[in-house]
């Protein structure tokens, strides 16, 4: 499903240094892994490279059989649109759209017919426990609820891969546990693969396996 080979990345700048050096990773369909590592080691950088938001210095990334290196920005964007769902630490829902329309966004991007969209959004909102709140605006929701919206948005279009970068970083332990459980459940029922970046051992424990990223690549 996802194969990352000998990936290296360094940021240009005054104190330029390698962030990722010869990193490799294989992920099968439906596999749920957690990545842990010190702050600044390059976890977010790795996710961005996988999502095609940034280009590596060397190495290759293949997503569902397509090599990212050969694609231009628009093609990478279309691939991401189809195959990837994102969950962020800071939720990032559009404040001016109601919950339902926020969740609907990826479907709209994929030109799914409107009738279809409404049905799928309703089902999805039910699945994340927000059934009936589709008309609410983001500012009327709590942090935990907002993250459920984000999970719904990440999965509505049934992507092959979900990337979650510290999705519980802004939540209290109780909410965090609920959100993690929801994320795992949603990912598993839809047969998607997922990478969960986290600093918390409890969070990492919800994954199928845990990888540790160090300056020397993956260990464990």
């Amino acid at each position: 499903m996802l194969s990352v080979r000998h990936l290296s990345k360094s940021y240009p700048g005054p104190r330029s240094r390698d962030v990722l050096h010869d990193v490799s990773l294989e992920l099968g369909a439906g596999e749920y892994v957690a990545i842990m590592g010190e702050s600044g080691v390059g976890k977010s950088t790795l996710l961005n490279l996988i999502a095609g938001l940034d280009a590596p210095d060397s190495g290759s990334i293949e997503l569902g059989g397509t090599a990212l290196a050969g694609l231009d920005d628009d093609a990478r964007t279309r691939l991401r649109r189809e195959k990837i769902g994102f969950v962020f630490q800071a939720f990032h829902v559009l404040p001016y759209l109601d919950i339902a329309r926020n969740v609907e966004l990826p479907l709209a991007l994929l030109d799914v017919p409107p009738m279809d969209r409404q049905r799928r959004v309703a089902t999805m909102l039910d699945a994340v426990g927000l059934g009936g709140r589709g008309g609410s605006l983001p500012r009327e929701l709590s942090g935990g609820e907002l993250q459920r919206v984000a999970i719904a948005r990440a999965l509505i279009h049934e992507p092959a891969l979900v990337l979650a970068d510290e999705p519980t970083g802004n939540l209290d332990p109780d909410n965090a546990a609920q959100v993690l459980e929801l994320l795992r459940e949603c990912v598993k029922t839809r047969g998607a693969a997922a990478i969960l970046v986290t600093h918390s051992d409890r969070a990492a424990a919800t994954a199928d396996r845990v990888l540790r990223l160090t300056a020397a690549g993956f260990t464990g």
Partner: protein, 827 residues
Amino acid sequence: MTWRLVTGPILQHPGRSLLCVLAIAMGVALGFAVQLINGSAISEFTRAAQTLAGKADLTVRGARNGFDEAVYAALAQRDGVALASPALEVDAKLPGRDEPLRIIGIDVFRAGRLQPALFAEGADLLDSLRADTVFLSAAAIEWLGAGRGDSLTVQSGLAQRTLRVAGTLTTDDTLGRVAVMDIAAAQALFDRVGRLSRVDLRLAPGVDTDRFIATLDLPPGMTAERPRDAGSATDRMTRAYRVNLDVLALVALFTGGLLVFSTQALSVAQRRCQIALLRVLGHTRRQVAGLLLAEGLMLGIVGAGLGLAGGLALARIAMEIVGADLGAGYFRGVAPNLRISPTAALTFGLLGLAAALAGSLGPALEAARAAPAAALKSGDDQRAFAALRLPWTGIACLAAGAILASLPPIDDLPVFGYLAIAALLMGTILSLPVLTAFLLARIPRTRYLAVTLAIEQLRARPAQAALSLATIVAAVSLAVSMAVMVSSFRTSVDAWLEGILPADLYLRASSGGDSAFFTEADQSRIRAVPGIARLEFLRWQQVLLDPARPRVTLLARDGVDTDAERRLPLVGAIATTDGSLPRAWLSEPAAALYDRTPGNRIAIPLNGRMHEFIVAGIWRDYARQNGAVLIDRATYMALSDDHSANDAGIWLAPGAATADVTQAIETGFGAEAIEFATPGEIRALSLSIFDRTFTVTYALEAAAVLIGLVGLSSAIGSQVLARRREFGMLRHIGVTRGQIARMLATEGFVVAAVGLVIGSVLGFAMSFILIHVVNRQSFHWGMQMHVPLVGLALFVAVMLALATVTARLAGRQAMTGDAVRAVKEDW
């Protein structure tokens, strides 16, 4: 520290702050410059009049072309008069020059005691009495490039007379361009034997001037005034035009204040967290409001300072280029020095400060009122604009505007008309959130995600969109109303010109000045020129109907009694007359100024006596702002015994060529004595003068549009910057750069379109008031509304394109930082 808290935000967005400063500066500069120029011109005019009057206590004057000498004899013998000095003033035509030279004929012995400025320095007394000598003022010497001993040619009737420059007047330079000669010589030279233009009186000690003036019963059409009041009629003459410009300056200031308002409101919204932090750290509400007001004050101080300096520069440049009358043609031959008026500086400086402070007041209070905890929470920015939703205040303002527009003028000034425009503008701006929401709700859904997102974003924040719109609406309405007004005016003037110039060729003895004219003999000679089918002569002069008002132009034309109904651009009904009184046709301004309608009577002073006329009808006239009265020349000649004429209209015989007729007349009278013009030339010249008069208006309009556009783009730009995280997220979930660019372009387009729709509607309403209330009340001109459709369509297209491009550019700027980093910024 506090200093840093104030200047920090200003310097953080230097472009935006600069823009506010410039907008304020523009309003201040314009208002200040107009005041400076007019103040200088009036004071120059008054000083010249005072110098001319010398030690006299009062001056008696009459119609422009004089009154009978007998008046002088009577005045000189009156009780209480110590000394009387008669003078004949003639604006003499100089062959080959466009502007006339004022020649003053004086009684040397009397003037020498009363008006030393008219006395020549070290002159030979005999020279002062010779028939062919003149003394020039310093300004006249400079203008003519002539000196003592040189000769000076002037035109009298159609003949040229040569005079000798015998010397210079005393050093006083306040007189302007004048020449002085003996009064008897001047009367003979200009064919005005027995006529005078003014008598200056010195009263005996102990005689009260005002009481003397009150008991003086002068012949009709004459008036007495103190020399220091000489400027007041001129001041009144230019007032309407000046007030017009002042109002434009105020509008510019208002636009500037609005720009400060929208900039500060957006900046405060963006800085909600920072401001909340200040509160959390222990700043009181008052302190927070104070800091934000201080920001506005800073902008105001810099803007007002720049504006005053700019106003001074503008006044200098404008006087160089368009003259002291700002292109309106009021002060000919006056070349004043700029006089800096502290009052004007203070007034406009304070107005600039007030505009900036008023603009920042709302956002400051709003920010101070916000609860810090709520402000720190994300997604709350819409609340910041809740206070802007004031539909009822807006509607009340609009209603007030409609009522104000129907009120009469105060002291000839359309005060309520201007207030009505202000009320409409305010009302519209206050209603913007509601109007915007209403218009946005009308936009149909599309299947393009970029467009949908753009419109959703705007719909969700009508108040914020309204903020970006405020400046553009003000600017567009100003531009549209001015464009419609000027175009209506120009079209009406053009149509009018076409109507009033029916002849094939026009002759004029002198366009400037009053020394040149056609005598009866000249008239017969022209009549004898072959190729002329029909010839009409016109005599015009300035008569005083009301001492408190500027003189009215009396026009006497051949054939008026038979063809007025057919030829005049009449407005309204014609009075049926029984023929017992001669008929007079009043121009619109004359009818309004002297409150006459067809059927009324009007008395006109001719040859020292009042003559009753019946007002037969009212005609449109854009040429003489102080009013004109048209009568038949046969009547005029019978009543005044004046048989000369200034202009002639020629209808060519079939087959005759303009060039041949012109040639024949020129050989008869000399090439320089008569000016020839075809109706086409007169029309072109008149329209070019018209356009010159409106240059200031055009420039201001362009500046306002620029402010509006820049205001819109700065608002869009700052909102786009504030939404960088949103774009970052959209990129993550698969929105392409192109889609984001299209989304922003759509937002820019939609906002501009809404602004243009609202601004245009408001502009039309304002132009209606400008045409039917403001112009009518200040200039008494009626005109047909004319909408310059092509121009406006072009304007709309350019504005839309610019707004769209601006939004796109703002988006590109916001996306230079990558999507990855944008999502990291915390909300």
